[in-house]
Amino acid sequence: MAVYLPLWETVIICFTLPVAGFFLGVLFQSLIRKFTARFQGRRGPWYIVPKSLRPVVGSTRILQPFWDIMKLMYKQTLIPSTAQRKIFMSAPFVAAASLIIAIWFIPVIGVSAFGPFEFSLIVTLYLMLIVPLTIVASGAASSSPWGAIGSYREVILTLAYELPFIIGIFSTAMLTGILTPVYGGLPLIPGSLSITDIVNFQASHSISFFGFKIPAFFIILNPFAAVAILMSLIGKLKIKPMDIPDAEVEVIAGAYTEYTGKLLGVYEMAKIFLLFVSLTLFIDMYLGGALITVDYLGVPSFIWSGIVFGVEAIILILIISVVNAANARFRIDQAFTWYMKIPLALSLIGLVWPYIMVSLAGAGVNIGISIV
């Protein structure tokens, strides 16, 4: 049965977590820009501006995406006279709002408002799917040919990455149910669609991995699904080989072409929320949610959790940045075929992998991994 926090704590978390998520997302985005720049042999946004320049351009650019958004908020907003006004204006707000609600359902270092809800995983998936829908709607409503092409590409890309994403996510969620009875001696949890349950499962179990005792990270128990999800997230976040819908030199800015000022600022905010939600979801699903329950060295466990969360996020950002820097953009048909080939195959393997593991363990074959 889902156990929620007291009402006032829930309310506080509902307000603080999106704000914290926004600034963490800004930091992640800034790190992506910095790492990508480094991999391209550039410097990227200056984190420490040299002394001689400080009076002119300020002292640090760690929060560069935040300044971009603030700048857009202080700009004039133009709305094309031929646009479908209502859809055009509401789409960015819908995208940002749905992601803020998604943050409520995703535990960040174990803290969440509605994470224990039985179907929070499904709710999160739906809320994350609203973003591409709003982008499609706004591109179509902007009455710009670039917007139309951007929408069209967005639809195809969404169709392509959403299939491996959903299969991968559900095959991972199944792990909580299937593995427990076989390895015996553990409290029996049914396969859960609540993200908090998934996080708690990983935190409360440990596995022996070729003799080493480590927490039961699902990335070890189901690596195929994890890789498929990471590949899908690259499409979701429009990282380099998959930034087809808003390819700058091809379709100007895709669905965002006609957006200016505050509306574009809200979209940029939504992008940052999306980055935060995606990374947190990945950490929750596969890296144990960065949840540490023991006070090592007398330091409170939530500080340890925060450190672990940061380290895991930076590792993910590094992977994303390398992909971003080392790849050229796909054509839309290439992207579709690629998603239908590699990530889909991986996620399907991930779907049957728990059964294979269970039957191997049942047959007494030592595969090096077992829950202790």
Partner: protein, 202 residues
């Protein structure tokens, strides 16, 4: 494909330790970048040898010959003879930094500097490097048309006289002084009326 991707990945990791960016807006422009500073990147000075920047005019040295005007490729330097003055205007907005003026100037009054941060703002502060200066002209005694700038006349008559032999110097000084008072047209007219060969005055 996998092989190519691994190669790209290696390249990305290699370039992360090999930053190519120069620290232009900051840093001392005159710094010597011949020694590698960050990793192995940035071996370059943004004021390098032979950089052609904004032309610098020295009003003291200029004799007003307008040789620079006639060679200037983009009409950056313009001259106009008004009221007994030769007015030079130099609009940096037209300059292509070709260096022809420096090459042709007989007095080395114009030199290309290594100044390159030339961006200027607004019509109010219209081109701080926009120079305007005047040279006095000798006016023709007969018709009042300009003959030559005073300084140029002085410098060149000295030069000519110095190169002449002892024997001719005094006589030539007289001729040159006479010629310097008349414009070309008047000189020519004079020569025909006096039945003299014009070349005598040159």
């Amino acid at each position: 494909m996998v092989k190519g991707k691994i190669k790209l990945l290696k390249e990305a990791l290699r370039s992360s330790g090999d930053i190519q960016t120069l620290d232009y807006p900051s840093g001392d422009p005159r710094l010597d970048y011949s020694q590698p500073r960050f990793g192995s990147g940035a071996k370059y000075s943004h004021i390098c040898e032979g950089l052609r920047g904004a032309p610098q005019y020295s009003e003291e040295d200029c004799c007003g010959c307008a040789a620079c005007e006639s060679v200037c490729t983009a009409n950056t330097i313009k001259t106009e003879d008004v009221n007994g003055k030769r007015v030079f205007t130099i609009d940096l907005g037209r300059c292509v930094f070709c260096g022809r003026c420096e090459e042709e100037c007989p007095e080395d009054a114009i030199k290309l500097t290594s100044k390159f941060e030339l961006a200027y703002t607004g019509p109010g502060s219209q081109n701080p490097a926009n120079v305007r200066f005047e040279r006095d002209l000798i006016l023709c005694e007969k018709c009042g048309n300009p003959v030559a700038p005073v300084k140029q006349y002085k410098i060149y008559s000295e030069k000519v006289l110095k190169n002449l032999g002892e024997k001719w110097r005094e006589q030539s000084r007289e001729d040159i002084e006479k010629a310097g008072k008349l414009c070309r047209e008047c000189r020519r007219r004079n020569a025909y009326t006096l039945n003299l060969h014009t070349r005598k005055y040159y």
